[in-house]
Amino acid sequence: MSTRLSTHGRLIDRSQTIKFTFNGKWMRGHPGDTLASALLANDQMLVGRSFKYHRPRGIVASGAEEPNALVNMGKGPTFEPNQRATTTELFDGLTATSQNHWPSLEFDVGEINASLSRFLPAGFYYKTFMYPRAFWKHVYEPFIRQSAGLGQAPKDRDADTYEHFYAFTDILVIGGGVAGLQAAKAAADSGAKVLLVEQSSAWGGRAMVDQVDSETVNDTPVDKFVEEITAELAAMPNVTMRLRMMGAGVYDHGYVLAYERLNDHQPDADGPRHRLWRIRAKQTITATGAIERPLSFAGNDVPGVMLASAVRDYVVNFGVSPGDRTVIATNNDDAYLTAIILKKAGLDVPRIIDARPEGGGALMEEAKALGIRVDLGRAIAKVKGSRRVTKVQICNQAGEGGVLDEVACDAVAMSGGWSPVVHLWSHCGGKLLWDEGHAMFRPDGDNPPRGASGEGFVRCAGIANGAMDLAAVIADAHEAGKAAAKEAGFTPKRSKAPAATSRADAALLPVWLMPQGAKTELRAKSWLDFQNDVKVTDVQLAAREGFESVEHTKRYTTLGMATDQGKLSNINGLAILSDALGQPIPATGTTTFRPPYTPISMGAIAGEARGEVFQPIRRTPMHDWHDANGADWEPVGHWRRPYAFVRPGESVEAAVMREVTNTRESIGLLDASTLGKLIVKGPDAGRFLDMLYTNMMSTLKPGRCRYGLMCTENGFLTDDGVVARIDEDTFLCHTTTGGADRIHAHMEEWLQTEWWDWKVYVANVTEQYAQVAVVGPKARKLLEKLGGMDVSADELPFMGWADGTIGGFACRVYRISFSGELSFEIAVKASDGQAFWDALMEAGSEFGIQPYGTECLHIMRAEKGFIMIGDETDGTVIPQDLGLDWAISKKKEDYLGKRAQERSHMTDPNRWKLVGLETVDGSVLPDGAYAVGPGKNANGQRNMIGRVTSTYHSPTLGRGIAMGLVQHGPDRMGEVLEFPGTDGKTYKAKIVSPIFYDPEGEKQNV
């Protein structure tokens, strides 16, 4: 059994006991425990079920590489699935449940999949669920979704908060082990600004476990050295140190994301739970250590089989023994450390099974001296046990697995050697070398990720760089720190790396399969990817079926595609693939390392962007008034505009109809503040606007307004609006609401890149003004009542503007109309907007004034046949399509879009053109409906000859009206077209003029 020891446990505080639950059962642990160490201390080795076969799975590792111990954490609004128990710090009241089993962890019906495993090989889904086709959606997929998958998706809104932080540093050091600490020190000694981050809650990394008793730096024991250098760094003003912060991804231009877990270990604390650091570093040093590789032998996934390093981590760091009797299986010297530590802790190590015929070096001798039996050239044939290891069968490594011996045990510590953590190095293109001696990929220092200058901006240090013993690690890290400082523009101190001890290890023997010639039945139980249930036989099958690329094999077998991204499985898997393909490992290569290093929370990615600040909402000065007066909001870009002002008990539709009628009969008020207002000024302003608009603007007289169209270089209509000439040099261009920023940028682009010598300045003054349209036959009466300026037809005629005051408010009044009614658009300072609106509403009450929203605006403009950018246009429509030829100057030599509009497809008489549409029965045409013509196209579909672009019920006319684009439309007046609806009905509409109301324009010009 696994249990808490009375000795060891450097990270835990035994003076305090905290309680937590696992699957509803109360357990005890200590501050400093991880959830994994606390579970082991409570003899809870079984922690989950595998993805595909629902095999019982136990804790394998002690850090970020853990594939099995994924749990659901928390409840309700703090529920989160797939949390690694090995990196979850224990806190009082923690609740965790295991995943992927039914009905319980101990008894799982899905386990039957395991006995069917012969029938569930790699590519099983692709091969099996092809036919009959309809079964995929209705039978297979629901079944697979039910039986596969890990944690559940949270149901409640996340109660926690998250944030980002932008940090800038000369040198970022990722990893707080001895290499990271030494690299940071060497870099910081140059005076460079250094940010040092460590993903766990303690400095020192593996050295604190592996080298603490035996090895020294500067003749100081390693733990003391860590303590000293940590204190030195903490005292340096140019160094920032953060624990619980993982380097998640390295990107172009020295951009690095780091994931800081602030409150995972103290969920009741104030403040954000996670913080995503968005770092710009001149140089990044990754001192990310290495990950131990499992060995591939039959039953290597039985709970109780663990990485050798993890076994000693649990003993040394947490005072937890994973088993009473632990068999060691190895191909290198490192695992002997585990045996020695276990033995010295008073635990039984019945056997060390070393695949190397010659065995190891000094550590082997030390183990033997402690009385541990070492079998050389041997291998594990099979691990016996289901929910827990009971014994191992031993065979020759060179053979096929004939059992020579059996040893009873309750844990197996395995080591297949170490793989440097090269993920961050590789994220942005750092290349790898195959190191034959250590059977591992390590960074190729000559091919780093390169920045804009062509120089590398990432370097690795320590074991992550392939330096495999303490002396080499310290020396490598020291040089990395100095080199990074130099590259960042600093002068490193002339200093030598501290001298450290070196271990005389015997060479490792690459072992990718144990035993070497394992029979199929053994290989079919030798796991590569624990989380996705990929075995040696699956990869071999993929190779046989022609999946030669490692990327293809990965996707076919799902090797390395689980949440652990193959941290334990990738190298072993590609070694098996290489063997099956008969090629050396570097010829196979690795799959692509992609960020993040381990999964980071969605909340951290979103940062502050949730709730009220999920997205900016743009508000006009009268926004709050609208909100308090029944506004039914419509998003228009980031703006919110009232769609209609709905009265209590009234439907939105009824409100719209009321607003149209009221505005046409008496007076309405529209908040038009969102329309873009761009000031264009300079001696060349007229010339500039002549190029931007299709019509002539330079001839406009000061005091007058003109409606204009803007096209893209490709001739398509992009924006429209009224231009007012303010003085000889100055114009004010109105744009659509959505066009303000876009057209401003459009103008600046042409001025800055093409017409840089034209004397024109542009300023966006959209938000300087609250603009109110006072619309309706009684509009002038209201303004005259408020008084202050002459708004008579003589003094301020249609399409004129004037400055003045109304009701005491300084304003500019434009006599323009988008409704067909007598209309004044009045701009006042935004800060006066609400007061001005109030004054209009109050003075207008005797005239029956009512505010109106965007839908009323739309209906009134459609009644008048005015086009709307985004309804009648969609980026493929030219002004000529809309019958707007009158607004296209024939005199001008050029304007943006002119040449494009002369091209053959633009002048094609078959282009669909704007017409009005009147349903035969007065109903409303469905929006976007297509008119069908005779015959079918090449795809067997009905030929289409037109479509509806705008459609409304007009209360003014008491019938449905619409606009549409129809082939030869203007030539087909009176013809009735058929529009099949999605509701099964076919609508019939007659082609008419698009101007339904007041075609002479008498009402607006009074």
Partner: protein, 188 residues
């Protein structure tokens, strides 16, 4: 006639830093050739200040001149004096190709203050705000989360931030989220 009001009308928040709507601030966008002596003297006559260097802001008790782009300045003057100053600029620069417009009401202005002000802002803007990297006298146009913003420092603990008026509520809310209790970064 009623008093003009700023977008948030003096709203305040106290967290690990203090956020305050500063009410109405006179602002004039001036575009022109910044090397022309006429423009320099016009700015001087309106604000009493010289032209800031690239990326800079110069201030005295009544106002500031901020560099916005190679051909644009932002003049900060008392709200009530904007029209008078605009008239002066237009007169002084009548013969220079230039553009001076009132943008006072198109903007909102906030102060963010306290010893943690730097790191509260650093949660929202992609700018190096560490001491030494950003100091009083510097002007920065950038984005704040999802909207355009600009800021400068009045002193070691105080930022002034401007944004478009329509997103004043969003920016105020952003700052209050970033200044929430318990969210100290302690990075500077």
């Amino acid at each position: 006639m009623s008093k003009p009001v700023s977008a948030l009308n003096g709203a305040q928040f106290h967290g690990i830093a203090e956020v305050r709507d500063l009410g109405l601030q006179g602002m004039i966008t001036l575009r022109g050739d910044l090397t022309k002596p006429k423009l320099k003297s016009a700015v001087k006559s309106v604000t009493g200040l010289a032209l800031p260097k690239t990326g800079g802001i110069l201030s005295d008790e009544t106002g500031s001149v901020a560099w916005m782009s190679p051909d644009e300045l932002l003049l900060l003057v008392p709200y009530a004096e904007v029209d008078a100053h605009l008239a002066t600029l237009q007169k002084d620069l009548a013969k220079e190709h230039s553009l001076a417009v009132n943008v006072s009401d198109a903007r909102a202005m906030f102060s963010l203050s306290g010893p943690k002000a730097r790191e509260v802002l650093a949660k929202l803007v992609p700018v190096d705000l560490s001491p030494g990297a950003f100091e009083p006298g510097m002007m920065r146009r950038t984005r704040m989360a999802q909207v355009a913003a600009a800021f400068w420092m009045m002193d070691e603990d105080t930022f002034h931030i401007i944004c478009f008026r329509s997103v004043a509520r969003y920016v105020f809310d952003l700052l209050t989220v970033a200044a929430q209790e318990g969210s100290e970064v302690n990075a500077f």
